[in-house]
Symmetry: C2
Subunit: 216 residues, 2 copies
């Protein structure tokens, strides 16, 4: 299988930026979007538990309703596909068993053979130890998905903008998530940069490598 | 600039798995590692603030000392490069000003011209609003870096294993992070899978797309 060159990879990462204005007329082709959804699904997570839901918003009416509950940022309305990352707020035995059933199915083994793994997860996660906040742990996993998603999109030439400036509870309400056991933590707009986005050409601001990387 | 095909991207993501046993003799070439460090540096973050330090451990003695404080998992000892993700535990005006000074330098503008942006960051981050925990916010950003890092490594044919089963306070002590204003939150081993890793060929366990993706 073909790997990417370091040069091509760095070109894609340098091409990427937090897109402020999308070309509202340009939509992500179905096969490209399908690959990005698969990338989301393939994201690694703690114990493999995937404590998330990805809500993909393409309905224009809903995308516009997201603007006032996103600090009036317009990316949701102008982008092609808008992804809302929602995570589990609690975790119980049933969640572990749902995952173990899936593991048994995919790997064609008896669920009983996974007892040691189940015990390990139980002792760590259910009930949560003092100081362990399920929603925080799950949000961290969702941010792995966010990082993976933005990088994969850049590899395919799709622009993104991570959206932390949002009102999660109002997102939950609008998207019908409230009461589902999941809660919005972050979102990401995807599509293609618009001609008028001055941020596209601004030099990327990063601390010098020697200021953030320490070698031991 | 060349983009990746969806097929190549999905092949790389399916090739990736949480590597349990690395080939201890095989080291990541310098140019490949340099690109992965640059990928870390280029990771997007909230406001662009980069509230992190990446500690790259290649010293074999230190790599081995990490094993007992990583639930006795051996990845740190066997991998080529081991990255510890540490984040800011507090955030003050000086941190914002350090970032704004860098922005002014990179974009060749007067720092005074960034006053509105500074005000916006101050009102959101300094002092933290009730319920806003700097270390949690910073950890989320580090997990974007983790997701970006694992995906970039896969694109280059480098194996990784995210490491959450670690003792962060003992990491801080061993790596000289304690008291620096940063704290370890997660780690990631990188290198090349060993021949004997049975996890390499196990089918990947993911919930069906229709169970994690909701369309609106």
């Amino acid at each position: 299988m073909e790997t990417m060159t370091t040069k091509a990879m760095l070109e894609r990462l340098n091409w990427r930026y937090a897109t402020k204005r999308f070309d509202a007329k340009r939509k992500i082709p179905a096969d490209t979007w399908s690959a990005l959804e698969q990338a989301l699904v393939l994201t690694p997570s703690s114990f493999g538990l995937q404590p998330w839901r990805f809500v993909v918003v393409t309905d224009q009416g809903v995308k516009e309703k997201l603007v006032p509950i996103s600090w009036n940022q317009t990316q949701s309305a102008e982008c092609s596909h808008y992804v809302v990352f929602a995570v589990k707020t609690e975790l119980g035995e049933a969640d572990l068993d749902r995952y173990l059933a899936r593991m048994a199915e995919v790997r064609n083994v008896e669920v009983e053979s996974l007892a040691a793994f189940r015990g390990m997860m139980m002792s760590t996660l259910v009930p949560p130890k003092p100081g362990f906040v399920v929603k925080h742990w799950a949000a961290l996993q969702a941010y792995i998905a966010l990082g993976n998603f933005m990088t994969c999109a850049a590899m395919l030439g799709v622009d993104t903008c991570p959206m932390e400036g949002i009102e999660p509870a109002k997102y939950d309400e609008l998207l019908g998530i409230t009461g589902s056991g999941y809660a919005t933590v972050v979102a990401c707009a995807a599509g293609y940069r618009g001609d008028g986005d001055r941020h596209a050409t601004l030099p990327k601001v990063r601390f010098a490598a020697e200021d953030v990387i320490k070698r031991v």
